[in-house]
């Protein structure tokens, strides 16, 4: 049963995370076992029953700590053979307007505001460098950002792509 909070009540959204959650988050950032009951396997790794493992994962998902459990796809196998990191110098007052235009492009996957003269940094992926240049000039046209206020840094080589956040600090096994 869902009981709505009375007016004026404080709604607590903070979630308690215990050391078992942290071990679970580390395990879930490894490659998921491709078996019919993967939560059972992960539970075995960290000493949880399948049921408790699934309950904890669901709770971490509901509280937003886990965004989702999904595949990392190899961009080159999908024809994305080129990429660039682009920086724009944008006045503070128009950052969100400019970001809104940039973010509307599916070719843009990451965009961050950064504490620098070049205040917006985003990535463009595409089939070729020419494709990226054409997307970029389109974005510049629509945002009014001149070449002067822009740098584009095409990828020559990637040495590491492994987004993984170590939840248990190094030098500790997370057990109390």
């Amino acid at each position: 049963m869902f009981i709505p909070a009375a007016r004026g009540d404080t709604i607590t959204t903070q979630t308690e995370i215990d050391p078992i959650d942290l071990r679970l988050l580390d395990a879930l950032q490894d490659d998921l076992p491709l078996v019919p009951r993967p939560w059972k396997d992960i539970g075995v790794q960290i000493g949880l029953s399948e049921r408790e493992c699934l309950q904890r994962i669901s709770r971490l998902k509901e509280s937003g700590i886990i965004r989702n459990i999904s595949p990392v796809l190899e961009s080159r196998r999908f024809g994305l053979n080129a990429g660039s990191l682009i920086a724009f110098h944008v006045p503070d007052s128009s950052i969100h307007e400019v970001a809104g235009i940039i973010n509307s492009y599916p070719e843009v996957s990451h965009n961050y505001r950064r504490d620098h003269h070049y205040s917006i940094w985003f990535t463009i992926a595409g089939g070729t460098e020419e494709e990226i240049e054409s997307t970029l000039s389109d974005i510049q046209k629509r945002t009014g950002i001149s070449d002067e206020d822009m740098i584009s840094l095409p990828t020559i080589r990637s040495y590491k792509i492994d987004v993984r956040f170590r939840c248990i600090p190094e030098g500790s096994d997370g057990r109390d």
């Binding site: 990392v72 796809l73 950064r114 080589r157």
Partner: protein
């Protein structure tokens, strides 16, 4: 990769269902047996289409709140990419073509650590050890967009 593989990827992209048998659940949605779903995913991994299946997490919620892009101008002959990529909290390490006369930095790393001072200390210690004099640490103050680079369904991030 055929239409069935693409349909499976679209389902996986939405996030694995949090039920006891998630692959069976996807199978029910697509009218395909669980075993075939698993076999097709394994084949897509063997062929290098899927690198891995893992949880994407909001690192700020677990106290990793500093995110920095570091731009490095390396000394001539420097070749320490693997040492740089192995620094604690580094998720990305790229060599890029700089803009001569305007922006000379050619190596880029993304750092995720608990605090800004932790990032500074890791970066400055590395610079000292490797004899690097010119680098810039750019902290992010706002995440404006973050979605996987490859999406079968180009509608972008789903709201949770």
């Amino acid at each position: 990769m055929d239409e069935t593989d693409r349909a499976i990827l679209r389902e996986l992209e939405q996030g694995l269902p949090l039920v006891q048998q998630p692959f069976a659940e996807i199978g029910v949605r697509l009218g395909i047996p669980e075993e075939e779903i698993l076999t097709r995913i394994r084949k897509m991994k063997e062929r290098g289409i899927i690198r891995k299946i893992r949880a994407r997490i909001n690192q700020r919620d677990i106290g990793i709140s500093a995110n920095a892009l570091v731009a490095w101008n390396m000394p001539d002959g420097w070749d320490g990419f693997s040492r740089l990529a192995d620094l604690p909290g580094v998720s990305h390490c790229y060599l890029r073509r700089p803009v001569p006369g305007k922006w000379e930095y050619s190596v880029y790393t993304v750092h995720h650590n608990r605090t800004e001072s932790e990032v500074y200390s890791i970066v400055s210690q590395f610079a000292a050890e490797e004899g690097i004099c010119d680098y810039q640490v750019l902290f992010s103050t706002e995440e404006l967009k973050r979605v996987p680079a490859v999406r079968i369904d180009q509608t972008g991030e789903r709201t949770r």
